[in-house]
């Protein structure tokens, strides 16, 4: 269990602007992901936990040991923290073979025990055959596994991973995920993983922390966060939703509905408890939940003709971008069939509309 409550201020410099990291969170067993855009303080958080960066104030508690406490002036040096760190570039020592890299990390064990542990780790991470090679002589996946093995060999109480999947192609990512699942299953070491890839959060994370401009924006399971972002900023960061500003025009608790005015047209939405007529709200809906129909379908509630501004191709579908700043997904076949028509009608299904 890691408990972090820190503040770190960076005054504006010649090539950086004023930045303050201010966090308070607790991460338990399993994989916790730190998600956020570049410059939100994710890596800085890892560096503070590992001891490379000394916060201005606060406290870091790992299990029951104080790693940092500004009040008591405690700052445990990185070497004594037992937080395994997998660096973004893996940082395998280029002048040592994979085996030597592991031996370096197992130095505290006596020779025989060390030899046995290194062999065991090489085997567990399928590196036995390449143990005698230098890092630049092995594949990306092997380097990755070796850096995880190296971080784990000292039996850390916490494993920190800094964007381990950055710049990896799909097969290597899959390999990384399986290696991390192995860590979870076989070692049980709590993991704190930094990423700006939402897929990765959903794939690996049991708990998710969203960082924005040095602050915690939301915390919860990845599924909950994706389903119910706590703020417009979080919804925007997730990049999953159309976000539209709307005004509450009418509320009908009896029918459990509401009427929302949206840029000149009215939409029927779900009932909004704790809102008043005239409130400004944000409406969010996933592009794949919108229905796109040809322009000549008969009018119906929540349907309106929209002006197409752009089209982007996706793996199995087409994403249509409309005037008003929203987009909708359409299968390739439907798009080809309707393309010749003059316009599109978009329907916002009532049940899919959600509000912040």
């Amino acid at each position: 269990m890691i408990q972090v409550r820190i503040r770190k201020h960076y005054p504006p410099g010649p090539d950086s602007c004023d930045f303050t990291l201010e966090l308070d969170f607790l991460a338990g067993r399993g994989v916790t992901v730190l998600f956020g855009p570049s410059g939100s303080g994710k890596t800085l958080t890892l560096d503070a936990i590992a001891g490379f960066v000394r916060p201005d104030e606060g406290r870091i508690l790992l299990d029951d040991e104080i790693l940092f406490d500004s009040v008591r002036n405690v700052h445990v040096p990185p070497r004594a923290r037992r937080c395994g760190y997998v660096f973004q570039n893996y940082a395998l020592f280029p002048h040592m073979t994979l085996r030597k890299n592991l031996e370096f990390a197992a130095a505290k064990h006596p020779r025989l025990a060390r030899h046995r542990r290194v062999n065991e780790m090489l085997e567990r991470f399928r590196l036995t055959d390449v143990g005698g090679r230098l890092p630049h002589e092995v594949s990306g996946g092997q380097k990755q596994r070796c850096s995880i093995a190296r971080a784990l060999i000292g039996e850390p109480r916490l494993l920190l991973l800094d964007e381990p999947a950055r710049g990896l192609d799909a097969p290597l990512k899959a390999e990384l995920y399986s290696a991390l699942n192995q860590v979870r299953a076989e070692f049980g070491t709590p993991v704190l993983l930094v990423t700006h890839d939402l897929e990765e959060c959903l794939e690996l994370g049991e708990e998710m922390l969203i960082l924005r401009e040095g602050r915690l924006a939301q915390m919860g399971t990845p599924r909950d966060i994706v389903e119910q972002p706590a703020s417009v900023e979080v919804a925007r960061l997730l990049g999953l939703y159309n976000l539209l500003a709307a005004e509450v025009k009418a509320l009908n608790p009896a029918r459990n509905t509401s009427l929302l005015r949206l840029d000149g047209c009215d939409l029927e939405g779900p009932y909004l408890p704790r809102h008043l007529i005239g409130d400004r709200v944000w409406l969010y809906v996933r592009p794949d939940q919108l229905r796109v129909l040809p322009a000549d379908v008969p009018p119906a509630p929540n349907r309106f003709v929209a002006q197409l501004t752009g089209v982007s191709q996706r793996a199995g579908s087409v994403r249509l971008h409309f005037e008003g700043g929203f987009s909708a997904d359409l299968s390739l076949a439907d798009y080809t069939a309707g393309k010749s028509a003059r316009g599109w009608t978009v329907e916002f299904p009532r049940d899919c509309i959600r509000l912040i």
Binding site: A50, F52, P77, P78, R79, A80, R81, R82, C83, G84, Y85, F87, Q88, N89, A91, L92, F93, P94, H95, F104, A105, A107, K108, L134, P135, H136, K143, R150, A151, G154
Partner: protein
């Protein structure tokens, strides 16, 4: 006509000794300058650079003032070793040291600074002490630059003239290094001696340059 090879041997001996001392001191100083933040770092950096920009005779003059028989350090040396330092071959070592160490420190520092910080961080994270980080990670990774720096420092100590003549003088058979001997030979019209020594030294210098270039740029990177 016989050529006196003494200056060549003396120069080699002086260069080897001064390079060894420069390497011991210089690598440590370079590491401090590259990796640590401390008070007076700027001043130390300036002090290390100064010998590079001062004319050698000026540097030699300062050393003469600081190490001369009447100076504080000179007296200490004399009371410990029983003989003065100036105008001995040991003084030639000091001269070569001051002439070459700044170059070594500059290059070694650049070498240390070119080592990716994440390797050192990784080593610390894996429980290594600072001592171990230095010997097992930083130094091996900067090894080539440091060897190249040492080669350049060796070449520079081999050829020092100005500082040597100021504090070691020109005593044939005792403190006359090759550079001084060449000057002496030309002055007294011994053309052959000068030519032979010039050719030998040029050969040594070119081999060192070749060696330094081979060591310098190529580095195994993962």
């Amino acid at each position: 006509m016989g050529i006196d090879w003494f200056p060549l041997w003396l120069s080699l001996r002086v260069a080897v000794l001064s390079t060894a001392i420069a390497a011991l001191l210089g690598i440590w100083l370079a590491y401090l300058l590259a990796n640590r933040n401390f008070r007076g770092k700027e001043a130390l950096d300036a002090a290390v650079t100064l010998p590079l920009v001062l004319p050698p005779t000026v540097l030699g003059y300062y050393l003469l003032v600081v190490l001369g028989r009447e100076s504080f350090l000179g007296k200490i040396y004399e009371s410990v070793f029983g003989a003065p330092l100036v105008f001995t071959w040991q003084a030639a070592v000091v001269a070569a040291l001051f002439h070459s160490a700044p170059l070594l420190i500059k290059s070694a520092r650049a070498g240390f600074e070119s080592v990716d910080r994440s390797y050192e961080r990784a080593a610390r994270n894996l429980g290594a002490s600072e001592w171990r980080v230095f010997w097992r990670v930083t130094l091996p990774l900067a090894q080539r630059s440091i060897l190249a720096a040492a080669a350049l420092a060796f070449a520079r100590s081999l050829g020092d003239f100005g500082v040597t003549i100021m504090i070691a003088g020109n005593i044939p058979g005792r403190t006359q290094t090759v550079a001084v001997a060449i000057y002496d030979a030309v002055e007294s019209g011994k053309g052959t001696v000068a030519r032979v020594l010039v050719l030998v030294i040029s050969g040594v210098a070119i081999s060192i340059l070749w060696l330094a270039n081979r060591l310098g740029p190529r580095r195994a990177q993962a």
